[in-house]
Symmetry: C2
Subunit: 510 residues, 2 copies
Amino acid sequence: MAEEKDIVAGAPGLPSRGSAGTKGITASKEKDFSEWYTQVCTEQGAKLVDIRYNVQGFVVHRPWAFRILRKIYELYEKEVEADGHEPYLFPTVIPEENLLKEKEHAGFSPDVFWVTMAGDEKLEAPLALRPTGETQIYPIYALWIRSYNDLPLKGYQSRITVFRNEKTTRPFLRGREFMFFETHDVFRTHEDAMAQISRDLGMMKRVAWDRLALPFIFFQRPQFDKFKGADNTYAADTLMPDGKRNQMSSTHDLGQRFANAYGLKYDDEDGTEKQPHQTCFGPGIYRHMAALIGIHGDDTGLILPSAVCPLHAVIVPITFSKKPEDAKAVEEFCKKAEKEAAKEFAVKFDSSATTPGFKFNQWEMLGVPVRLEIGPREAKEGKVTIALRAPKEKRTVAFADLNKEIRDSLEKLDSELKARAEKYFANNTKDAKTLKELKDIIEKHRGFVRVPFCSTGMDGEKCADILKTETLGAVVCGTGFENPEKPKKGDKCVVCGKDARHIVYTAKTY
Amino acid sequence: MAEEKDIVAGAPGLPSRGSAGTKGITASKEKDFSEWYTQVCTEQGAKLVDIRYNVQGFVVHRPWAFRILRKIYELYEKEVEADGHEPYLFPTVIPEENLLKEKEHAGFSPDVFWVTMAGDEKLEAPLALRPTGETQIYPIYALWIRSYNDLPLKGYQSRITVFRNEKTTRPFLRGREFMFFETHDVFRTHEDAMAQISRDLGMMKRVAWDRLALPFIFFQRPQFDKFKGADNTYAADTLMPDGKRNQMSSTHDLGQRFANAYGLKYDDEDGTEKQPHQTCFGPGIYRHMAALIGIHGDDTGLILPSAVCPLHAVIVPITFSKKPEDAKAVEEFCKKAEKEAAKEFAVKFDSSATTPGFKFNQWEMLGVPVRLEIGPREAKEGKVTIALRAPKEKRTVAFADLNKEIRDSLEKLDSELKARAEKYFANNTKDAKTLKELKDIIEKHRGFVRVPFCSTGMDGEKCADILKTETLGAVVCGTGFENPEKPKKGDKCVVCGKDARHIVYTAKTY
């Protein structure tokens, strides 16, 4: 079974293993983020997606990307299950009547794909490819809920895709089919529902920040930018290197709107029939991926936090020596190191027939945190040279300390990514007191700008529209959910000049 | 957060937790398997699916079922990755042109669902909802493969669904959307491809038999019943309690047919361009589930092997005593037992406000292998009563031995399921030498019947058709892949009377 040797678990994403490899990234992340991002995602870079699939806006998720995305999924699955959510799976198609019942969803319908035929026959009624789960899940919840004993009902579906006919698409930022994750919760009271929203925020902190090193602000969206079927929308926004906000999750306080539309009710302890309160939470798996690529990557390629990198370490043999006994000693020592590291880490010994330099480039492109270099000297002295992807540094350590050193290296890399991301986030969050100041800042760096604003209620929409026009695209992201900034006395709305009731964050957006 | 207490990971699939519960199964598996199966799957039984979703043939997979299905997926994911397959994800939709290119796939087209609209606009070309992956994956493989260094290329997609407009549907046996798993492998030589088919069989043995206790025969299908795009089809068939065969997997020797249609080629070591050989393997996740339900279940409900049951053990407090100190002692001891058992097993302390009898019924219905009963006496004496789902037995053990006893119990249950299934399988595999004998056996018991047969080549199709008509539905399953039975001298085909070249298995089928 010689043909199996080359592919080991974790090897991945290198379809042209023996052949040419990637050209490497030529664009600068700093100077041309858009081009850099495309290069990293495609053939030239880390081969995350294949955009040559012959349906526009639909991509192939290649192994390396799939493994990262799967790890993001796993982190959220673990969180929501620990929080009492049960997994289930609903059909991919939704009958038209379900969409029509909840009129707020009419907002989706221009983007909905419709199944109308089976074989040569027309279906009696068209079926929508699921744009999101509410309209399919809640009618069934109405059947499952009878009494207060059935509440809370907390469920989720994961590893599904949803479909929207977006005009423009970009890998992991906007796709016609994209990876989805959604919880759907039903509570007796609004207080219970709000407690869930805080727990949803807790999950975002533990996954997006603690594990993925992606900083964000959890906003309460203005009324004019909430999900139309919700009483309130909360969203976690991060900042991409081009200064645009990237919405990484949303969580909705649905109130009793859907309960009303789909007939959810329960018999309460006091014997009366009541309408429950609902929330739903959707960490954007794709958007997390886009943030990982964009925020942490550099001109060499991806840099991945240890929690989601398919490999923690790769072992590269350095055998320029012409003596066959050197090569053999190196190979043996590499295998020994692989065995040792595998006790604790996802590790791969790259024994392919390419040069060390080629291997260095490949694994740096893919964002593997740690590289172990082993040459004749290391093999002889029982040492290993450890190279870290970020911060770039190298040191030689004793074999006996190998796993401790890898552990320390991963911690160092994760800390470095957090420090870099936090610094970028802080440096690109500014304040403006006038529309002119705001325009200047947005024009130069984009990023978040905090401004005094008249109202996040529906009466603020007009000012938000003007703000967007004047800044060529900045939107009002909302107010902080935790510790929202308060306007100072005398602060005036940057648009209408009325007394400011809020300090809101503005930013350009994807 | 009092509302979280009731739902713990693994609690699941009991939507009416506090309410009425299930009615219980009234049908007899022995006497009316079809009705029994429906009851187990739906409201009346283990609530595996909700068939009230308003698109015919599309079901909701409820938490308990979803957790079992997920475990089946995980077992195969682990196997194929250990065998060198890389995970990826392709789009749900396939352009019409891809289906047309491989004409053999035209066989699917009457069953294909077509997306034709986005919003109000007609698409330029219709998109098929994926009926299976070949026609979408191989054109991309053609882009990924350049030289012999790229081979073998072994990939898979898991946790996806596929779509076929089946006329009739049954939970986990036939659905319009159903859970799918597929590997797609490309090799230099046919020898390499055949070695993969043996490894695919190995995976079936390790998962379906070793872990799920589902016996099967791995057949080489007759030429007239192979997948039309393949040179040869191999399939693992098990027997359901109604005597019908249930195809649990298929693995195809695709030869060079698809390579030819989609332009897969590689530069070989000798500098010449060659066409590779392909295989694909699909364990039927749904079909495994149907086999678990049907083969292991009894008139009380599911019986699940330890490898896939979402819970290994449930703890039920027995508190008929009126003394509050007894109830408290029992509760504390239950929690202690839960904590201990959780070190090694998936366990739940069922503290809900229902009677022990109600709880016994619920958890037996769901097929949980082990029940731990703890009453005042157990709490006082530091003992636990262990009840096993199969074989039905109860014993009281010391707390100190708890985990060892659970471990032994799970082993005993798994062995019992294997013994029962093997016995049923053996008892329902018979031999016939004439068409009359065959008809008699099929009429009485169905199951597998081995018969002498003229040919498994295309020239045998006519006899197979006659056999099917005469037996009111039995098909020729094929010959055993391992150690195929040989006809004895003088054995004649049960249909045409010519010299038999094979002993084939026949059975009615789903």
